[in-house]
């Protein structure tokens, strides 16, 4: 059976279902933007998206444009327009319920790397964008949701560089470092599976499988071994409604969602 949707579509649809309505969501660049737009159109009309560049509660105008961030579409019909220091302050003060991020690598404690691959900081094997607002989002929002392509090189025992904090070295580490109490990674949505974090060990825990994916598929494509929930949820594929809105309204140029090979 050939797939009728892309991995990215799967991730976006899955994550769009995770956002509770009537919550504030700090939305990062790229996939999270699309997922938040989809969520608002379909599942949680009253989420309040907030962006690091100062938009509070926009009804983001579609279609989505490549590199759209901070422009008029991204800021359309907001409750308020502010600026970066004010947005970060509000997250720091506890007003923002969810953080919603993409990343290049993640490790078993949910630490995110979007800075470098390699151990030599001065001459990295590969350089990425760095934190952006990610460090603040992952540090200050109450619950962070991370979107990740499911590849072995991305799910690591330990990331080369902790750009944005997960649970650091495990239980208690965030609090010891001075990070806000009770904050931290909440879910990881990959192109194969859904994870939360084991309450005791703070290690990533497999809780759901995407359609057609086996537990073994998931584990083989991770460098570390996650905790595995007793019962794995069978996650639904993108629905017809989701795909229609994604492909017709939100991203008709397939800038982010891509095309089926």
């Amino acid at each position: 059976m050939s797939k009728t949707y892309t991995d990215v579509e799967q991730m976006i649809c899955l994550s769009s279902r995770l956002i509770e309505d009537n919550r504030t969501v700090f939305v990062g660049y790229g996939m999270p933007q699309i997922a938040a737009i989809l969520a608002q159109k379909l599942y949680s009309p009253n989420i309040c998206q907030v962006y690091e560049y100062g938009a509070i509660g926009p009804e983001v105008a579609t279609p989505f444009k490549r590199n759209m961030m901070a422009d008029a579409r991204n800021s359309y019909r907001s409750y308020s327009w502010m600026s970066m220091n004010r947005m970060m302050a509000q997250a720091q003060m506890g007003y923002i319920d969810y953080g919603f991020l993409g990343a290049a690598q993640i490790d078993k404690y949910g630490n995110i790397n979007s800075t470098i691959i390699g151990k030599d900081y001065e001459k990295p094997k590969k350089r990425f964008t760095g934190s952006g607002g990610g460090n603040e989002v992952a540090s200050l929002c109450w619950k962070t949701i991370v979107l990740m392509q499911h590849e072995k090189r991305r799910f690591l025992e330990r990331v080369d560089f902790i750009t944005s904090p997960g649970y650091l070295d495990g239980p208690g580490a965030r609090e010891n470092a001075g990070l806000p109490r009770d904050s931290g990674p909440h879910r990881v949505v990959s192109s194969k599976a859904l994870f939360d974090f084991d309450v005791k060990s703070k290690v990533m825990r497999l809780i759901g499988l995407c359609p057609g994916v086996t537990k073994e598929d998931v584990l083989e494509n991770m460098e570390f071994e996650p905790v595995v929930a007793d019962k794995l949820e069978q996650l639904g594929p993108p629905t017809e409604d989701e795909l229609k809105i994604l492909r017709e309204e939100i991203d008709p140029d397939r800038v982010v969602i891509g095309r089926i090979d």
């Binding site: 590199n67 900081y121 001459k123 990070l179």
Partner: protein, 322 residues
Amino acid sequence: MDVLESGMGEVLLQDVDDVREWMRDKKTRALEEKVMDEHEAVRRFLKDGDYISYDLSSMVRGPMSIEREIVRQKKKDLWIAAKFTLLDTTLLVGGGCVSKIDVGFAGLGRPLFEAIENGIVKTIDWSNGTLALRHLAGAMGVPFLPARSLLGTDTFKHSGAKVVEEPFTGKKVALVPAINPDVAIIHVNQCDVYGNSRVYGPSITPLETAAASKNVIISTEEIISTDEIKKDPGKTTIPYYMVNAVVVAPYGAHPGTVPGYYSYDSEHLEEFFAARSLEELAEYIDKYVHSTSGHEDYMEMVGGDARMEELKKAEWIKEGYY
């Protein structure tokens, strides 16, 4: 309140009293006309080795015409604050102007990553939020501000922040040092000849950056009268006495957008993005920067009035702007 840990990143530390003195002696409170062309503004107020900060980004209300002029004048050895930057950093690095980058968000270009991976430019990693906060500290005239981010990460280790236990409730907090850039370049919607400036829409740190910086170059879509400014003071983002130069630059954010006014030039951006190496980027820069005499000439090359009219029409959202 001992320092528990210090990041290893290099920081441009300045004595806040020295900066105060600069603000007193080198910026004027007189109502002097500051309008000049971009050649003069960059020549007079920006020199090799300076620390530069811009606001917002190449994609949105960015001071692109001034950034192109910096490349055109082949400024060297700049240290730049890459907070919420997009292609800005890539352009300046591609132009050979940069030696150090305080990274909030390191653009989006392969050529930039190539320069970093090859050690051509040095990075000091921060985050968008803490770089914005450092500008706020600089604007407040204090040596540092506290934050609850950075903590526990490698971003902290490579930054120039410190961790302390604060003396009121015993929390561990990160302290980030103030930054007072040598030069700020900020593109605004409107300003008067003295520099009283209006920015419409959400923003990163236009006021903080202007207040903190020792020299401030404003580029503007248009000049309005001081009388108009005074009729609606709630719209003024930056007061005149923070400003050193006003450059009139219609469509100055091209190929980016000025929200509510004109859209991005997606076709041109594709051309920029197509440069996948420093070498390819050099070709782009030769064509659009070094081969043009200035902003006016550049605008002709990218399509002139006809193209700009199209971009204005493409920006259908007007609510809340102007």
